[in-house]
């Protein structure tokens, strides 16, 4: 913008005169010029507000081709970027899901092992088909040896869980003769002796009856062996394991079992 004064026109006015002339031109006069100016001014105002409204509300339809291409490019790049992010997240999700699956599997495996070991160690009650052995001892000749034989025979016949009198049979169970009966792991029991065994009832029953077996030994000692196969047998006695003082498990890279 040049700040130099242009040569004054003949009708030019300055200062207060200029304001007066502006007011005079703007004052209401019913001339053709004023009406036309008014009409054009209204038109201009209408166009301005319309355009402002249009600009505020405009979406893509008012853009030119190049601008639309630019918008399309931006959207495409954004889509590619989001697609990459989506795949990354999907991989993460799959990894987490498979991790959760394998963890669940490991937990189930460990629980199954724990159940098996609990039955072996005698820390949990057990149920299943089995036999009930009742050994009477009217002559008092049946001792720890015959009971131990019976336990061994039952084990050989596939007995999984056994109970002698009120005592659960585990790896450390021992039999000793005591006054008027037998001591099983320190618990004295008296005749008639009851042995509960979970396993295949038929196999165990026939194992008791083989010649020279438990049945013969009991008969030879003057007692009587009664075998009752049962479809369902509950062994409720449990063994309280003593805390291990010396042995600790060797760490192995498999699922650890608690017993």
């Amino acid at each position: 913008m040049s700040e130099h004064r242009e040569p004054a026109q003949p009708g030019a006015v300055q200062g207060a005169g200029a304001w007066r002339r502006l007011a005079r031109m703007g004052s209401p006069r019913l001339t053709k010029a004023n009406v036309l100016v008014l009409a054009l001014a209204v038109l201009l105002g209408f166009a301005i507000s319309t355009q402002v409204h249009q600009t505020r509300a405009s979406g893509l339809e008012s853009l030119r081709q190049e601008e639309l291409v630019g918008v399309l490019d931006t959207v495409t790049q954004e889509g590619v970027r989001l697609g990459t992010e989506l795949r990354t997240l999907e991989r993460t999700r799959d990894r987490l899901a498979s991790g959760a699956d394998s963890e669940k599997e490991a937990v189930e495996l460990a629980r199954a092992r724990a159940d098996t070991l609990a039955l072996l160690a005698g820390t949990e009650p057990a149920t299943g088909p089995g036999v009930r052995l009742t050994i009477t001892d009217p002559s008092g000749k049946i001792g720890a040896t015959i009971l131990l034989d019976a336990i061994q025979e039952l084990r050989d016949a596939g007995a999984e869980v056994m109970q002698v009198g009120p005592v659960r049979v585990v790896a450390s169970t021992y039999f000793t003769d005591s006054d008027g009966g037998v001591s099983v792991s320190g618990t004295s029991i008296a005749a008639p002796y009851t042995i509960l065994a979970i396993g295949d009832p038929d196999t165990m029953a026939s194992a008791m009856g083989i010649p020279g077996g438990v049945s013969n030994s009991v008969s030879g000692a003057g007692g009587e062996l009664t075998i009752t196969p049962l479809d369902r047998l509950d062994i409720t006695a449990v063994h309280e394991p003593a805390p291990q003082r010396f042995a600790t498990p060797e760490p192995v890279p498999t699922a650890s079992a608690s017993s």
């Binding site: 003949p10 200062g15 002339r21 001014a41 209204v42 507000s49 355009q51």
Partner: protein, 110 residues
Amino acid sequence: MIPALGLLAGILIGVVLQPDVPIWLQPYLPIAVIAALDAVFGAARAVLDGIFDDKVFVVSFLSNVVVAALIVYLGDQLGVGAQLSTGVIVVLGVRIFSNVAAIRRHLFSA
């Protein structure tokens, strides 16, 4: 006073009606508005210069609008619509500024 009132009335009408600009008019309306503003400021300057003529004003107003729209239309046909629009805006903006400067000199003697 009257033109200012007219402008205000037009703005109010537009605000109340909120008309949609037809598609074919959309590229030209902004340029046309700028061109009309240029004509208005030119007219105000002419009043102060004492050379205002209503016929000249009406013709310059309409021709400004039409020529601006024509230039943009031609630019769109030639594939340089955006650049030509920018050029027209720049030229009209410079003219508006110089007219406003002249008006300012008349009204404030500065």
